[in-house]
Amino acid sequence: MKLTMKVNGREVTGEVEGRTLLVDFLRSDLRLTGTHVGCDTSQCGACTVHVNGELVKSCTMFAAEADGAEIATIEGAAAEDGTLSAIQQAFQDHHGLQCGYCTPGMVMTAASLLKENPKPTEHEVRQYLEGNICRCTGYHNIVKAIMAASGQEMPAMAAE
């Protein structure tokens, strides 16, 4: 079937099968490979994008269901000139990543959190990240980065 959607502000069209996942359409058809597939079973959150402004695991939604939707991916996070978003910059400043595989999903999830709750507590940050798994960092620096991106003083972390 044919579909049309707006991805990072740009109108795109494509031809997909019923079974084509949104993440496969983004990665294979649009070549937006910043969105990652970690587990393919909706556990890990590496594929997290925004659909009509809402956080969604793009490995667990069909492309056909996103026909007509507005999609935001990690490629749209930075400004046109390459200036990182506040969240991306905070991840860099606070070393909120090691291998980087989960990072696109972490950044998209953090963006949703801060939109809903601009000044989250550390507990709220950790709870919101329940669906995003990182196997490197132990989450501490990710949480620090998100707290910093929210403009809050970094509290003494529970496990430090």
Binding site: M1, D40, S42, G45, V56, T60, E65
Partner: protein, 262 residues
């Protein structure tokens, strides 16, 4: 996944026609899509309920029941009933994770009847009514065992109507990898008695703990459950917890739920 087509109806009648023609309903897909990926299902056509505006929303009927349309996502339920039914709001707000709550629906949850799903506990404890495209089914008749319900193959859950208890709470012992309950208990006190429903624990799916209901109807305090236990026979035993452990958790989580509700 095997190949299939996707139909995107915008009315319930169109969806019924597509399902009558051999299609299978697709609600939020948070369980069905992983199932399809594992090639455990082979539909020719999936009928997405997501675009049907009449299947979304939360309202209160003349009897004071909270009525949740079938394709309403968990997040919307959590927000809509935060003041009117906090226990149900809490349950919805802790299903899966934020992204799952933006897609997963109440209709999908009760139609699937996963033995560890959250919603069936609320539906059964509140004596809610499951409404479909053709009839209304009382909770006690609806849940018929693990992944088994009173639904016909082609029946669509259109709404769930919850009587609002005088006091209620949901306590979930989370299995951190899946974020499903290892065991969770929904306790609901009504004028005519207390109902206790347990999910995650039994090989027969969600069930009512009648001994606890009797004790709590006489004395709605955690202490009323002292000395009561659930039989380990028939509990789920797996690498996350033995049958005995799950049986033990039923009592612990029920006490916590009562403590939170009073």
């Amino acid at each position: 996944m095997y190949a299939f087509d996707i139909a995107r109806p915008t009315t319930l009648d169109e969806a019924k026609a597509a399902i009558a023609a051999g299609g299978q309903a697709l609600s939020g897909g948070q369980t069905l899509i992983p199932t399809l990926k594992a090639r455990l299902a082979m539909p020719e056509t999936l009928v997405s309920l997501h675009g049907i505006a009449d299947l979304k929303g939360v309202s209160t009927d003349s009897a004071g029941r909270i009525c949740v349309k079938g394709a309403t996502v968990h997040r919307a339920v959590a927000e809509a009933v935060a003041d009117s039914f906090p226990a149900l709001s809490y349950l919805a707000s802790r299903i899966g994770d934020p992204a799952v709550r933006n897609r997963g629906t109440i209709g999908g949850s009760v139609a699937n009847n996963d033995p560890s799903a959250c919603y069936p506990a609320a539906v059964l404890a509140c004596d809610a009514t499951v409404c479909t495209d053709r009839r209304e089914i009382a909770a006690d008749d609806y849940f018929q065992g693990m992944f088994t319900t009173a639904l016909e193959e082609d029946e669509i859950v259109t709404e769930v109507k919850f009587p609002v208890p005088q006091a209620a709470a949901y306590e979930k012992f989370i299995q951190p990898a899946s974020r499903f309950p290892l065991v969770a208990v929904f306790v609901a006190r009504f004028a005519d008695g207390v109902r206790v429903a347990i999910t995650g624990a039994s090989e027969s799916g969600v069930f009512r703990w009648s001994a606890a209901e009797e004790a709590l109807s006489a004395n709605f305090t955690p202490d009323a459950l002292d000395g009561l236990s659930v039989d380990a026979d028939g509990m789920i035993g797996d690498l996350h917890g033995s049958k005995d452990y799950r049986a033990h958790l039923c009592g612990v989580m029920a006490k916590r739920a009562v403590a939170r509700a009073v």
